[in-house]
């Protein structure tokens, strides 16, 4: 069952990912990316990261992608979202294939630890929350400042009229 779900989500996420970078229009790319996010949320749930799976859908598919779709609609591009010229693209795709051929087997052959018995409440909201508010309280506060800075920065950037 788990293996079946893994291969379902894995195939779907790779297919959506490929469709995302090949779609002619940005809005189709956005929809495909939302598909990837949902598949990854399923994989996170398979790895018993239940809180992160929920956050993946709420934050990524819910908030970040809505922002992307808003901007795509706001820009209302008439020109096609083009690819680079054929010569450029051939060189780049060559490097990507080389990277893929070298990188993927390297990662896949890594001698990873095998599954152990998970602690009680692994990946639950209470477990992650406790960790977040004890061991990682300083990074947590810094992230909140970062989000505030990004908020102010985004408003300032989108509002000003530069020349």
């Amino acid at each position: 069952m788990e293996t079946l779900l893994f291969y379902l989500f894995a195939t779907l996420s790779v297919a959506f990912g490929l469709m995302m970078i090949m779609a002619r229009q940005a809005i189709y790319s956005a929809v495909c990316l939302i598909g990837v996010m949902f598949c990854l949320a399923g994989l996170f749930a398979l790895l018993s990261a239940h809180l992160i799976a929920a956050l993946q859908i709420l934050v990524y598919a819910g908030a970040v992608m809505v922002l992307f779709v808003f901007v795509i609609m706001l820009l209302n591009l008439r020109e096609k979202a083009g690819l680079r010229s054929v010569g450029d693209m051939a060189t780049q795709l060559f490097f990507v294939v080389v990277l893929g051929v070298l990188f993927v087997p390297l990662i896949a052959s890594y001698d990873a630890p095998s599954a152990t018995k998970l602690a009680e409440g692994f990946g639950s909201t209470a477990g992650v929350g406790t960790l977040l508010y004890t061991d990682y309280i300083l990074p947590f506060e810094i992230v909140s400042v970062l989000l505030l800075a990004a908020l102010v920065g985004a408003v300032a950037l989108a509002k000003t009229r530069m020349r």
Binding site: T3, G17, L18, M20, I21, A23, A26, S29, L40, F44, L46, L47, S48, A49, I52, L55, Y60, V64, L67, F68, V71, L75, A81, G82, L83, R84, M89, Q92, L93, V96, L99, G100, F103, V104, A108, Y110, A112, S114, A115, T116, K117, L118, A119, F122, G123, V128, L131, L132, Y136, P139, V143, L146, L147, A149, L151, G153, L157, A158, R161, M162
Partner: protein
Amino acid sequence: MESALAANQFLALSAILFVIGVAGVLTRRNVIVVMMSIELMLNAGNLVFITFSHYLNDMSGHVFVFMVMAVAAAEAAVGLAIALAMFKNRETVDVDEVNLMKG
């Protein structure tokens, strides 16, 4: 939950998704699609964090993914604001045409 799956399967999937993201950044010219490819790469990284978190039985990886999500949201907000400003001033979102900083 005892998993019948090996960590390497998740790692391989994550590597494939990351390479797809790299391909997107390199081949596309629309700045919004480039940023979406970056989001894909960040998600591939998140999958590695969650995988090792599960197989090492250590929840620190979950906290780290939480931080990555917050940073990605901040990056998307600022990046899209820059894309908007770029479109307002130059009437384009083509990353090849914006070469103000080119030496």
